[in-house]
């Protein structure tokens, strides 16, 4: 997030898109709800489902799946045409407006309506509402990113925010809501194929040399590596021969599971380090038992870039070991001695090598966390990014054209399928499905379907229904719901027994390599 969570209450307009906020970020959603009910903010929700937060919205824009670039361009078209944009901000802090103007020119509300299904006057109203606010905040999540146009979608939201001078102001910003406790931290720490800690590029010679020196090795690979989805593909092709998986469950979370399954089985050697024998661990040659968050010391970095302490409350069960110790022991056995006293000692090394974490030390995190960038031991941290200028100088507008999703409904597979989470379960269920209480409230997979589609397929609530795509088939119970809009069905992806990802499309965004989980075509049949 460019802005801290607290800032949401300072926004005059909030635009939520591709985030089922009340179910996936419930505590953050209460900031939105309070902004509306207590502080009088306006709320625009753009989402293909009539999710719960829509109850608090002034405008609900219902777009067809995968048409986000179109409606965002449409909003900018209206804002530019009516002169509602922040001219001073655009002139002093950005470049590239002319190209953007040219591109969005054809995205009239009427043209956009044809693509997205959003009524032209609604789009115009939303554009005026967003542009009219002194400070407007954009919140988004995987509903924006998990598309072949995911990168384009994010850039489009950034365009919209910059156009109205909403980046670098309190109560504004472009704010991705991270879905996992430490996904921000994993990225910050260089758990990515192209960067070291703090996003220092592996193919930047200076960074590469500095790291090699710090780590005491002759050289480091200088070419970016493969993403997770690419590694699975290379395993399938036999080029990737060994995989070491820590705390992940691609056998449920990967798109096109049938393919992922074959790929993992094709490996010569698979090590899985986890707290449970997950679907993925079952495929392993060696399983290493590690410890849960409650049994370890360390830090997580949350979605607002705040580094916060994790503290050991319990002893690990049996012989389970700390993840950092396991990694260090394998490393030492492979001839590279890794010796650390404690996680705190590791953080000291991180601070030394990472400008944005330079001032992060455990003694400063005792009572409250610190937002990075924190560039020195007396630096207070940075809750709000890009305040006086963009980190990289001027903000660049990217002129972006709408592209269709990779797969659209047709005669054979006539319905849109989208996927997501439910409040009472979490990701692949490794943690939540160990709770009887949560299982009682969300016991099994279901197909959320609109009353109109249900009657077309003669489905009653609770009926068995087969859902098939070009990649696979699962059987679930129908759940007739007003959340669903005619022509689009929804599946939660938590359940291995009826895995939504047997159906989803593995087509990737060319830049981010993110799969298009949010759109594919299916057919359904009463089971």
């Amino acid at each position: 997030m460019t802005n801290p969570i607290k800032d949401i209450e300072k926004a005059r307009v909030i635009l939520i898109t591709g985030s089922n906020t009340t179910e996936n970020h419930p505590v953050l959603s209460s900031y939105v709800k309070r902004a509306v009910t207590r502080y009088g903010a306006k709320l625009i929700v753009a989402d293909p489902r009539k999710i719960r937060i829509v109850r608090f919205a002034d405008i609900w824009l219902r777009q067809n799946l995968g048409t986000d670039v179109a409606w965002i361009n449409g909003m900018m078209h209206v804002i530019i045409r009516e002169g509602l944009y922040d001219e001073e901000y655009v002139n002093t802090r950005t470049v590239g407006l002319e190209d953007l103007k040219k591109t969005v020119e054809k995205y009239t509300p009427e043209y956009v309506e044809k693509i997205t299904g959003i009524p032209a006057d609604q789009l115009t109203e939303a554009a005026r509402m967003y542009a009219g606010a002194e400070a407007a905040s954009i919140l988004y999540a995987m509903g924006i990113t998990q598309h072949i146009s995911g990168t384009d979608n994010v850039k489009s939201l950034a365009n919209l925010a910059m156009l109205c001078g909403n980046v670098g102001v309190e109560g504004g910003g472009v704010n991705p809501l991270r879905g996992q406790n430490n996904v921000q931290g994993a990225c910050d720490m260089g758990g990515l194929p192209n960067v070291y800690t703090g996003y220092q590029k592996v193919d930047d010679l200076a960074a590469n040399t500095r790291m090699a020196k710090a780590w005491g090795v002759k050289d480091l690979p200088g070419k970016p590596g493969l993403t997770a989805t690419e590694m699975i593909q290379k395993a399938h092709e036999g080029e990737l021969k060994a995989l070491y998986i820590i705390g992940e469950n691609p056998m449920v979370s990967d798109p096109d599971l049938n393919h992922a399954e074959k790929s993992l089985r094709n490996l010569e050697f698979l090590v899985v380090q986890d707290i449970f024998l997950t679907e993925t661990a079952r495929e392993a040659d060696v399983v290493l038992p590690s410890v849960s968050y409650a049994e370890k010391d360390g830090t997580f970095t949350n979605t607002e870039r705040k580094v916060q302490r994790v503290r050991k409350a319990l002893d690990p069960p049996g012989e389970a070991r700390q993840d950092w110790r396991i990694i260090a022991e394998i490393s030492t056995r492979m001839g590279y001695a890794m010796e650390y006293e404690s996680p705190e000692a590791v953080m000291e090394e991180i601070a030394e090598l990472t400008p944005s974490y330079c001032g992060i030390h455990y003694d400063r995190l005792e009572t409250d966390g610190i937002h990075w960038p924190c560039t020195g031991s007396d630096h207070p941290g940075t809750p709000c990014l890009h305040m006086d200028r963009f980190t990289c100088g001027l903000g660049v507008f990217h002129a972006i054209e709408y592209r269709e999703p990779d797969e659209l409904p047709d005669g054979e597979y006539p319905l849109f399928l989208t996927t997501g989470r439910v409040m009472y379960q979490y990701h692949t269920g490794t943690m939540t499905m160990k709770s009887d209480g949560l299982n009682e409230l969300a016991p099994r997979c279901f197909l959320e379907i609109s009353p109109q589609d249900a009657s077309r397929y003669r489905l009653e609530d609770g009926d068995r229904v087969k859902v098939a795509s070009r990649r696979g088939e699962i059987e679930v119970r129908a759940k007739i719901s007003e959340k669903a809009v005619e022509g689009t069905v929804f599946l939660p992806f938590h359940y291995a027994a009826a895995a939504a990802n047997r159906l989803t499309n593995a087509a990737l965004d060319p830049t981010a390599k993110i799969p298009e989980y949010k759109v594919c075509a299916v057919r359904i049949e009463k089971g």
Partner: protein
């Protein structure tokens, strides 16, 4: 610029901002006014009348949580009259339901003494699940409230426990309204409200239905807000365990990216309860259903306890040395034969920063590949 505005509290001149209540000014200046129904972050209700103070010129005592500070107001926060009024209000609350927590008979001066005694165990009788951490009990000890002269109220409600997480026992409810405020003003889930009138007053969910049939999403904000034993986590109900026996460890929630600050209440090597940390963001005490009630996995019997090595198509248990040697040897061999880029590592959004750092360092410096990624995209 306007001159600062003052009120006089206990003889001291204190600056106040427009909109601040007497209680706000007192708290900001470290003056203790006891409260019971007051819930930080929600609008004051003035329901319990424990935070009463004297205001010069006012005929009656006023509720400091609901009275705005005004220029030159003269306030006293402690006096025999105030103590007496607070004591009487506490006695009325104690008599209003099932509050048989021995406060009435015990002759103790301080809350700490009382908690120490509570830790030593009780002789018989049913124990209130909030015993020793009950705000009403604490105030009753402090103000020596003993509702001897008042007849106990005989409305007894059956305990509602037909949901997995929250037990509601209205016979212990004092109608302070904190749960209603927490649900409607803090979480804005709008699942509960006041129902009925007069002596029949009760907190209700959707026309007085069980929570499981209402709009409740089991965030448990109401449980944390409840100052007595009327709303209790089900896992902690009927265990006979006293809440104050648990050790509390502050940490960060392991679920979504919001990073709520939580306290794990640990007893006998198990997480017995989870509460939100009130003092700091991002959550200021709030949690969701998973963050408050979804920690069973930690103590689950299926947790992996020993390294496993696959023999044929079955796993066998192994020692750490054997497993680590095997991993190091196989990774080394494959690197030797097929080159470093035939290896890959998935690090994790579940593990800590420190562990992620070491994982990518291991991939790059030891395996010699940049094939390192995690599920940010999945």
């Amino acid at each position: 610029m306007d001159a600062n505005q003052f009120i006089v509290m206990n003889g001291k001149e204190l600056v106040f901002e427009p909109g601040e209540t007497i209680l706000d000014v007192a708290r900001r200046n470290g003056i203790d006014i006891p409260t019971l129904c007051y819930l930080k972050g929600a609008s004051p209700t003035g329901a319990c009348r424990i935070c009463l103070v004297e205001v010069e010129g006012a005929r009656n005592l006023v509720a400091s949580c609901a009275t705005p500070a005004a220029a030159n107001m003269v306030v006293r926060t402690e006096s025999p009259r105030i103590r007496e009024a607070r004591r009487l209000n506490l006695e009325l609350l104690l008599a209003s339901g099932r509050h048989n927590c021995l406060v009435q008979e015990m002759d103790l001066e301080s809350w700490a003494d009382f908690q120490l005694k509570a830790m030593k165990g009780q002789d018989g009788g049913e124990l209130c699940p909030a015993y020793g951490e009950c705000r009403l009990q604490e105030l009753a000890v402090k103000y020596q409230a003993r509702p001897k002269g008042l007849p106990p109220t005989d409305t007894v409600y059956p305990v509602e426990d037909v949901n997995p997480f929250i037990v509601r026992d209205f016979s212990r409810c004092i109608l302070c309204g904190r749960c209603v405020q927490a649900c409607n003003e803090i979480q804005v889930n709008n699942a509960i409200s006041y129902g009925y009138r007069g002596a029949q007053s009760k907190i209700v969910a959707k026309g007085d239905l069980p929570l499981v049939n209402s709009d409740c999403v089991f965030c448990g904000e109401c449980v944390q807000a409840c100052p007595v034993g009327a709303l209790v986590p089900k896992a902690d109900y009927g265990t006979g365990r006293l809440p104050l026996e648990a050790r509390k460890v502050r940490t960060t929630c392991p679920y979504c990216g919001v990073g709520c600050q939580i306290r794990l209440h640990v007893d006998d090597g198990k997480i017995v309860r989870v509460t939100g940390v009130q003092e700091v963001g991002p959550n200021y005490g709030s949690l969701c259903v998973k963050g408050r009630f979804g920690h069973d996995f930690v103590n689950h019997p299926d947790r992996l306890k020993k390294p496993l090595i696959k023999d044929g198509d079955r796993f066998r248990e192994a020692t750490w040395d054997e497993a680590l040697d095997l991993v190091a040897r196989r990774l080394g061999e494959i690197k030797e034969q097929a080159g470093p880029d035939a290896l890959g590592l998935f690090t994790s959004a579940r593990i800590t920063n420190e562990e992620n750092y070491l994982a990518q360092k291991f991939a790059r410096a030891v395996l010699g590949t940049n094939n390192v990624d995690h599920c940010a995209r999945l």
